[in-house]
């Protein structure tokens, strides 16, 4: 092995001059890895003399935690004669440890004999601090964004809870009203029946009178049966699982028309506006259409023929159904509670459970849509029942 170990004194004076003028910290090591030269900026940085730094003296200033990785890196690359770059903390002349980026390269003579290493160092503490700050900021931003998301989610959840509470309150209200109305509507025909039975049981009632009373009783019992049937149907509406499927809306309306009396089937005209297929619960929607058309039939105007138009439109978000009739219409007073259970318009002539629109409203809301009615009895223009179904 060629012994090219040069000493500190043999460092070229021109190189020294140039190195001392450099703004970066420079060092030179000989083939035995001992440092033989440090430039002026280095010595000013460490506040030590050349005699203190040369050899391995410079390593005394390495922060103790960085000592091993630094020496390991230096040794590894020195033995391989490869360039290296490493970061470590070095003590500045004021005692503060500063992060240094140290780059070393081997150098050779013209015969390719290894002569040692040249290295340069820069103080990267501010850069590191800034990078750390950036990282901290980025982390903070992520945290803030996550907190914002959480806050938004919380707000949304609160809104949903509020909505659910409102709905629950309305449901409770409805239930109360329903229960009240139900008990009233069940009680009324029962009481009537009881009274009729009492009348019919009197000994002095003629047979013809008895037949009349029995006919009335039968009628009331039939009413009761209808009410109970409606309630059962309504309860099924609440319980049944929604089955979303695509179906031909024209076919559905046609089947609903078939349930009506023949005389009224041709009174219904449909305008589909290119809506052919609807995706929703077919069974429930049929019930809705049936209830609305039944009402149209029940509450037709006495002095004119029934005309019902069914118009379906659609936009990006939902279908809109409008069932318009030329019937009696609904007074403003009754319109306000029209979707409440057991709200019938003319109780004596117009037989019905009073649950039809209540069921319509319930079903449409279950299907994700909403329902409203336009009508004015005074104007005598009939009633328009609107409902939407989401797409």
């Amino acid at each position: 092995m060629v012994n090219n170990n040069i000493s500190s004194e043999e460092v070229d004076p021109k190189f020294r001059l140039m190195a001392d003028s450099s703004p970066v910290l420079l060092w030179m090591a000989a083939i035995d890895a001992r440092c033989i030269f440090f430039n002026k900026p280095w010595l000013e940085f460490t506040g030590r003399t050349m005699e203190q730094e040369i050899g391995f003296g410079w390593a005394e200033g390495i922060y103790f935690e960085d000592f091993r990785p630094t020496m390991d890196t230096f040794t590894l690359f020195f033995n391989k004669r490869e360039a290296f770059s490493m970061e470590y903390r070095l003590r500045r002349q004021d005692g503060v440890f500063r992060w240094i980026l140290d780059n070393g390269r081997p150098y050779f003579d013209t015969n390719n004999n290894f002569l040692g290493y040249l290295g340069s160092c820069v103080d990267i503490s501010d850069l590191k601090a800034s990078a750390e700050l950036e990282l901290k900021n980025a982390r903070l931003e992520v945290e803030v964004s996550e907190r914002e998301k959480s806050a938004n989610a919380l707000m949304k959840a609160n809104q949903e809870i509020t909505k659910a509470v409102d709905e629950l309150a309305k449901t409770n209200e409805d239930l109360e009203a329903f229960a009240f109305a139900m008990s009233h509507n069940l009680q009324a025909p029962l009481i009537t029946c009881i009274n009729y039975v009492r009348f019919a049981s009197k000994s002095d009632v003629k047979e013809t009178e008895k037949k009349k009373w029995f006919a009335k009783i039968q009628s009331k019992l039939e009413d009761l049966e209808k009410i109970i049937e409606s309630i059962l149907k309504l309860s099924q509406v609440q319980k049944e699982q929604i089955i979303n499927e695509e179906f031909d809306i024209a076919g559905l309306i046609s089947s609903v028309k078939d349930d009506l009396k023949e005389e009224f089937r041709n009174c219904i005209t449909c305008y589909f506006n290119d809506v052919q297929l609807v995706k929703s619960d077919k069974v429930l929607l049929r019930q809705v259409m049936l209830n609305i058309l039944h009402n149209a039939v029940h509450y037709r105007h006495q002095s004119r023929s029934l005309v019902v138009t069914v118009t379906i439109t659609s936009n990006q978000h939902h279908y809109e159904f409008c069932i318009a009739d030329n019937g009696m219409g609904i007074s403003k007073e009754r319109l306000a509670n029209i979707f409440r259970p057991f709200r019938r318009l003319k109780s004596s002539r117009h037989k019905g459970s009073g649950l039809g629109l209540f069921a319509v409203d319930k079903i449409i809301r279950r299907l994700g849509g909403h329902c409203w009615i336009k009508s004015d009895e005074e104007l005598g223009n009939g009633t328009e029942v609107f409902f939407t179904l989401p797409k």
């Binding site: 083939i31 035995d32 890895a33 003296g57 200033g61 103790f64 000592f67 091993r68 020195f78």
Partner: protein, 485 residues
Amino acid sequence: MNSRNSLWEKSRKLNWLTFDQTFFPSIPSGAEKLKVDWSQWEEPFKTSYFQYIKIQHSKELAVEGVRNAMQRINSSKQLSRQWLSTLKLHGALLPLAEFAAVIGNLRAARFAPDSAWRITAMFAALDELRHTQIPLRIFQHLVSKDSQFDWVHKFYHSNNWVAIAARHVFDEMLLAANPLEFAIATNFVFETGFTNLQFIGLSALAAETGDAMFEDMVSSMQTDEARHAQIGSAVIDLLDKDLPYVQKMVDKWFWRSWRLFAIATGFSIDYFTPVEHRKISFREFMEEWVLIQFQETLKQYGLKLPWYWELFLEELDYYHHMVYASAYSYRATTWFDFYLPGPQDEEWFMEKYPKSWPPFKPIWQQIRTQWEKADPNYDLGVHSSSIIGFCYLCQVILASGTPFKNNAIVEQTAGIGRVFCSEPCQKLFHDEPERYKNHLDIVNRVLIGEAPGNLMAMLTQYMGLNFDTWGKDSFQGVYPWVKRG
């Protein structure tokens, strides 16, 4: 008998009529607790002052003569670089330890309960003074040739970890012990058991390697040791009714001496002596020169073998190998160079330590492989840099056990964690916790901020080493068996 001798016979036993507490307070004398008739104290080998100085004078002339001759021919140049480490190691361990022995002997010269004992102790103090001066004088001319020899004097003044461990033993044995404990610890255990025969063995080794100067130095010192080591046996002779006390002292000091002795002599015999000059192994030396004689001596005085004897016998096989391998990896922390064992050494080790050597083979192979990749000019390229563990008691690196079985014991007592290299060290600590609890090995000094954690700063600023003096590989990693690409 001539009149001088007959006067001497009478005067050596001139004693105080009563053993008065005023002149012999209990702590320095240590004899109050034991009810012994110290007037019966008799040393086998008596000498008068006149005889003493006459004999010593002739020894000095001989040593000086050899030293001058060796200096003229520059004999150190002919010595193997390997062997030079023996000189540096012993050269540093001896002088100021011997000086501490001067102080210990002078305490005995003042406070020993018998006049003959006091006189013998005085001669022993003079012996030890000589043993201080000889290595300082012998090695002084080598400082200009090799700055590591500066550590012959500097060593005990430094915070080198070996010095911390050595002071830990010698301060207690030589500076703090009362004459009774000093006699058992130093004269009986250390000198009779170890150094007396160590010097014989070392002297023989030195002769083998052609080191006439060292040979003469140690054999001259050994003649003094033989004389004043007898103080120990003379004291134990009278303690037949206090054998438990003697046993406790023997157990303690044998173990503590063994730790240092294994390093100094183990390294010298098995590693620093070139393989072609090794006649016996360290284990064989211990068995022949120390164990047999020591066991016979204990039997003679009605003493038992120390309770850890089996562990000690096991350690003969591997302890010094473990310490050497560890110390090689941290050689810059010492002031002498380390030899890298090669194939011939391995053959020899396999022959001498067939049971314990195999686990060490891969360790040395790993180090050789590192040298093959490293630059021979860059000694630190094959060197460790992280701090390792030390025993809280003996303050030597944790090396008890084999590469596969670590004997170290970790314990937590009163919220303080301590690590001991072995059970005997742990027991010694707990026998006298107040004595040892504030001692700090090098690692604990780093942890409390007294010593720097940066290795380079520790070597230069704390241990007082520099590039020229810190330990390196004896041949800079250039060996025929280290194949580089």
